[in-house]
């Protein structure tokens, strides 16, 4: 094995030793890192609206008579047992929810099986969900936007799968919307937030999304929400 800038064998050995000596810490870190990233993205969406002048209030469930802040890190659980944010500007109020079940755009009330999807981040109309159970989904016309949070690097199939989600939940976003005079509609667009890098295969799909002018975003370590970074190479 030829070395170019450094001794590869030594670096590999040191890396292996790091994994061995820090195994307990790495395991502990790994036990919550996915959920921490979800909490982070939930907070990022709050900041996104705050930057646009919205007022944000956190609403907490009562546990043993006391208000407790609880994010919903699971697809199971009734929405009223978890915290959510109320986001208001002038006369308009919307809600930001974590792990909420949403009916798909094509779902019909009388169909045999329900068609709904549990989304990591949901922006919805300001509606009362106090009677909703773990299996209840909000109607699709309450949905304003949504986000999928993946604590991994993005590859083509992940981005394509997200487009599939948008097709089911908000197909209107998959049209030629981001044309020359596009300024956004005031709400965050449906997004996929991958914490890692965009692999070239994912970048390829992303470029076709841009060509098609879809109103969706893919964030990653190279293009985080709310941060200006140098453009990565496009070749």
């Amino acid at each position: 094995m030829a070395d170019y800038y450094f001794d590869q064998k030594q670096a590999k050995r040191q890396l292996r030793n790091f994994f061995r000596s820090q195994k307990a810490g790495l395991t502990s870190f790994g036990s919550t890192v996915n959920q921490t990233f979800e909490a982070h993205v939930f907070a990022k969406v709050i900041q996104w609206y705050q930057q646009k002048g919205y007022q944000v209030t956190i609403n907490n469930p009562r546990v043993n008579g006391r208000a407790v802040f609880r994010l919903k890190f699971s697809t199971r659980g009734a929405p009223n047992k978890y915290s959510y944010a109320t986001i208001s500007l002038n006369e308009r109020t919307i809600q930001l929810r974590h792990q909420l079940r949403v009916s798909t755009f094509s779902h019909r009330r009388k169909q045999k099986n329900n068609a709904n999807i549990c989304c990591d981040i949901v922006l919805m109309n300001d509606e009362d969900l106090s009677t909703f159970s773990t299996d209840d989904a909000i109607p699709n016309d309450w949905l304003i936007s949504f986000g999928e949070v993946k604590h991994m690097s993005a590859f083509a199939e992940l981005v394509a799968s997200f487009i599939g989600l948008v097709h089911e939940l908000a197909p209107g976003k998959l049209k030629r919307i981001r044309v020359a005079d596009y300024e956004g509609n005031g709400d965050i667009s449906p997004f996929l937030y991958a914490s890692g890098v965009m692999y070239p295969t994912a970048k390829g799909i992303l470029q076709t999304i841009q060509h098609r002018k879809y109103d969706i975003d893919v964030y990653s370590v190279e293009k985080p929400m709310l941060q200006v970074v140098p453009e990565p190479e496009t070749t």
């Binding site: 800038y5 590999k12 292996r16 810490g25 890192v33 959920q35 709050i46």
Partner: protein, 151 residues
Amino acid sequence: MNTAEIFRYAPRYISQRFYAINGYVWKSFFPDNSLNERLKQIKSEKERAEELARLKDVAGEASLVILILLLRKFLSEGSNAAMQAVDTFRELGVEGFQIGSKYFADRNENVMEGEVLAEQLMQTITSPKLLSLIEQAQYPFQIINRYRELI
């Protein structure tokens, strides 16, 4: 030492996340059919094999730098994510949040866990050149560009 050996003691979530970096680097250097096109230009089979081995070595070294860069970032951004979440929630009157048995608030050990591990990782690496490559790069494509000079 091959990739599997590097990850021998790593938790599964780390090996799963970083195992494919070599493929990412290889595809970045040689998209589509460009490697075959390049090797076809070399007439002798022996020289083709030597060139392929050289390219694999370059890609292997670049992959190692990117692996450490991304691992450090992954650990440190775990803390950044926790800090930003904690700070945003605190501004809204929420002191902290619970994930399983861990409570995240201010800059407590759960919030800082990733940053401490990232520092440990950098202390493990002794090559000044490798450290400098990692320190100077923010994103993998910068390392790719650096090694592209050798391709």
